[in-house]
Amino acid sequence: MSAASATVLQQQAIEWLVEWRSGAMTDRQRKALDHWRQADPSHEAAWAQVSGALERVLQPLAPHKASHAAADAALGALLKPDRRRRRMAGGTLALAGAALGGLVAHRFTPLPGLLADAHTATGERRSLELADGSRLLLDARSAIDIDLGADSRRVHLRQGALIAQVPAGSPFTVQTRHGRAQVPAAQGARFMVRLQEERTQVAALAQDLVLHTRLGAQSPLQAGASAWLDGAAIAEALARAEAAAAWQSGMLAVDDWPLDAVVEALRPYRPGLLRVAPAAARLRVLGSFALDDTDRALQALANSLPIRVTRYRGGWLTLIDAA
């Protein structure tokens, strides 16, 4: 029996597991690991505990593994053992379903968020202070990367929305996949950026900004105004900047938005799936809705639009259809 304490053994097992995951383990190291595991039952127990812990904590991510093993992993995670045989009869369709499950999950708790410098969960708004004194308020289900340098300060918005309050200094940029909003050097600003599926909204709350699209179009945005960027063009929006940033106080203020865009803005505040049928997606919406109480917001939509809202089993799925 080894005299090593449980803590020491755990530490050794962790070091071995670090080696094992390196992707560059030599045969000699493999043998050494086998030898260590077989040297004492307590070693094998520590190995099982540590490697099991890693597997258990990350097991839910197995369906997203970017390899040919993804299908197996997805099935393993999706299908309960007692139902396996019946499901396997589904063949390729079951596989397709597993992949779809991954996609749904991805939209729901964005994996980009897991890899980002900072992100927020469903229904969570969070403020953070950067090293340069800037303050960021992240909307629910948002994800950002932060890159502060001496010559430039950059925030990459990967998902959701933020409000940035920026002190004067080097140029400050918030970038999305559609383009970027820039605060020129030696100027402070307060502004909002929201990334949507097909476009990005920017609202200048205090001080002017400069907008650039991914393809090189450029336009100033005056304080108090808001604009939409897609990859190519910039279009001034009807909404005043403060209305576009109303989510900071838990309100969604929309001015002639299609219903599917309103639903997109409600989703980060609602656990469970929220779907809108194509027949209802293009209805136009005008008004203010409470983000922190999405049941109330949906009721308000149902009161003013020709739609039917149906909840299934405790609210994990909500469907909006044309009435």
Binding site: I14, A53, V57, A94, T109, Y312, L317
Partner: protein, 80 residues
Amino acid sequence: MHLPSEEERYAIVQALQAVDRVLQSLPPATRRVLLLNQLHDMPYREIALRLGIAEITVRRHMARAIAACCALDCATALPP
């Protein structure tokens, strides 16, 4: 023919959110190293190149991440 139901998908989503909360307690760099290695089976050398850090630093992040997983696993496995 049977597709995994919405409820099963929802279960995965819940699990993902649980993982998400766990990993939130790790510094961003540690989280990134762990996920690149676990999700993409990326060798340390490639992670080091991609993140612009030393391979020894990748190892340190991995050790830290695994230790955090152990702590969490024990916390959920044992009664309080």
